[in-house]
Subunit: 309 residues, 2 copies
C-alpha cells in the first residue's frame, strides 16, 4: 500500500504525511494484550487483522476515512513464520481499506500490539457521541452477538451447528470495521459509536454524552441465522445486549434525515436497522420485547477486562 499523501514512510525518525485542506485529522489508539484481549492460540493472521480492525472501527465511528497507521509490536521472540502471517493479516486489511503503515517500533517483551490509527474527515463533519437529541431514531449496522457466540462456544458453553461455525468464527476473528457506513452517515447522523463493549454499554456512552435516554425494541435488534439457530430468544439477550466485539456501528438520526439516510444506506449497500428512539431522561434505557417492558439486569460477560482513558 502506497498512498500519495505519504511524503515519507518507514525508515527515518518520523513519517511525513499531508492532511488534505479543509480536513481534520482523526486519531485513535488501541492496544491488544495476549491473554487479555485475545486467546493465546489465535492465528497470527487473525491477530494482525483484528488489531487493525478495532482501530479502523473507531475511525469509522467518527465518519473518518482511514489513511495511516503506526504499529508498535512487542514480541517475546522473533518467530519468522509467525511474523510473516501476522504481517500478512495486517497488510490484507490495510490494503482493503486503503490504509498505509507509516511506521512502527518492534520491541522484545510479552506479546502486546498497539496501533495508532489516523484518518481524515471534512472539517466539522465528524460524528461525535454527544449529538443525539430526543426523538432521534437509533440504528445499528449488521447483526449483534456473533463475536460473543464465537467466544462462548470456544469455552464449550454450547455447540454451534457445523454449517454456522465458519461464519461465526469469521465474525470474531476477522471483524469488518464499518468504514463505508461511517462515511455515509456524515451530515445525516446526529451521533455514532462502534459496538465494542456491548449494545447497552455503548448506547450508554452516547446517552451520557448527549444527556438523553433511549427506548430500544429488542426484537428489532438484528441477529444472524447462526444466532437464531444456536440459542433461543431469551438466551440470545445477553449476547445481543451486552457482548461487545462485533464492531458494528450504533448511531442516531434526526427524524428529518431518516428517509434520506435510508436512501443513502441502500445506495451504498450498507445494511442498518432502526431499533429504537431517543427519549428524555439522561442515561435511562427502556427495553421492550414485542411491546412488553423488558427487565434485563444482566451485567454482562467478564470476557475481557478493558478500560479506556
Amino acid at each position: 500500500m502506497t498512498r500519495r499523501d505519504v511524503n515519507l514512510g518507514i525508515g527515518d525518525d518520523c513519517a511525513l504525511v499531508t492532511v488534505p485542506e479543509n480536513c481534520q485529522l482523526a486519531v485513535t489508539t488501541d492496544t491488544l494484550v495476549s491473554g487479555v484481549h485475545f486467546f493465546d492460540d489465535i492465528s497470527p493472521r487473525a491477530l494482525g487483522h483484528r488489531v487493525l480492525a478495532v482501530n479502523l472501527s473507531d475511525l469509522a465511528a467518527m465518519g473518518a476515512e482511514p489513511t495511516w497507521v503506526s504499529v508498535a509490536l512487542t514480541l517475546p521472540n522473533i518467530d519468522v513464520e509467525w511474523l510473516e502471517e501476522f504481517t500478512e493479516g495486517m497488510h490484507e486489511i490495510a490494503e482493503y481499506y486503503n490504509v498505509q503503515i507509516i511506521g512502527g517500533d518492534t520491541t522484545q517483551g510479552p506479546l502486546t500490539i498497539t496501533i495508532c490509527a489516523k484518518g481524515t474527515v471534512p472539517q466539522g463533519k465528524a460524528l461525535r457521541r454527544g449529538g443525539a437529541k430526543v426523538g432521534d431514531w437509533i440504528y445499528v449496522t449488521g447483526p449483534l452477538g456473533d463475536a460473543g457466540l464465537a467466544i462462548e462456544s470456544r469455552k464449550q458453553e454450547f455447540k454451534i451447528a457445523p454449517e454456522h461455525l465458519r461464519y461465526v468464527n469469521q465474525r470474531f476473528d476477522y471483524p469488518a470495521p464499518r468504514v463505508a457506513a461511517g462515511q455515509v452517515l456524515r451530515g445525516l447522523a446526529s451521533s455514532a459509536i462502534d459496538v465494542s463493549d456491548g449494545l447497552l454499554a455503548d448506547l450508554g456512552h452516547i446517552l451520557a454524552m448527549s444527556q438523553v435516554g433511549a427506548q430500544i425494541h429488542v426484537e428489532k435488534v438484528p441477529t444472524s441465522v447462526a444466532m437464531q439457530d444456536t440459542l433461543d430468544k431469551s438466551q440470545q439477550l445477553p449476547f445481543i445486549l451486552n457482548y461487545g466485539d462485533d464492531y458494528e456501528l450504533l448511531f442516531t438520526v434526526p427524524d428529518d434525515n431518516k428517509s434520506m439516510l435510508e436512501l443513502k444506506l441502500r445506495q451504498y449497500g450498507v445494511e442498518a436497522t432502526c431499533i429504537g428512539q431517543i427519549k428524555s431522561g439522561e442515561g435511562q434505557i427502556e427495553l421492550s420485547l414485542n411491546g412488553e417492558k423488558l427487565d434485563f439486569n444482566d451485567t454482562g460477560f467478564e470476557h475481557f477486562s478493558k478500560e479506556s482513558v
Copy 2:
C-alpha cells in the same frame, strides 16, 4: 495542556485535531517495555517523562514542532499512587514542550508503554537522514555518554563522585529532547538524527541513507565534566561512541550554511559542536584522536535489545 488546534480531545471514539495549512504531519511511535528498556525500579515520574521524551526526540530530529500524543499504557494492576506519579512525569514534560495528550488506551498486562507522537513541520522543511553531502560538517548537540555512565554505574562497574551523581542520573532519567535545536536547524542542516543507539550507529544511519562516509575527530566530541572526572580518555570511548540514550541531535551542515548555523545556534542558546566532516565512501567512518587514526572495534553495549521497523 489545552492546545487550540485540538478540536476534540479524550472521550470520543477518536480525537480531532487541525494541522496548520502548508504544514506536513510528522508521526513517530516508540514503545518502552519493563525489564527491556528500563529498570524495574525506575521511578514512575521518570518513566512518564522518559517515554514521552524519546518520542519527542524523534520529532526534534525531523525539525518538527511536537503537538499531540496518544498514550497506550499496559499495566499489571491499578496502583493509584504509581499512576499519579507516572502521569505527573508525563504531564510535566508535555506542558514544557506544549504538547497535548489527545487520547489513549489503558489495558491490563505486563508493564509496557507505547506513545505515538505527532508534530507539524512546514511543507518541505523536515530534516531527513538522507541529505548529507560530501564536505558537509558534522555536529552534535550537548555532551555524549552520560546516559551510559548512569546505567553502567548502577551496575556497579565504577563509582561516580557524589558531586556528579545527580547530574548523571538526571541525564538518564529525565532526558531533554532537543526540540528547539531541531527547529533551528530547518533550512540549514542537510540531515539529522537523534542519538538513541549511539554516535557511530546513528551516524551510520545518516551515512547509509545519504550514501556517504564520515571522518570524526573523537577528541572534539563533547563530554560532561562528570564523564571527564569519572573515566580516563580511553575508558570514555565506548560511552561516547557506542552508548545511546543521550537523545542529543547529530546533524550535518553544508559549508555554505556553517556560519549562519553557528549564528542561529548562539541566538537561540543551542549548544552544538562540530566533530567532523562528511567524506566519500558509503558507510565508512574514519575515526581520529588528536590527529592519529583511531582503531575502534568495540561493538557496543548489550544494555538494551531494541529494534525498529
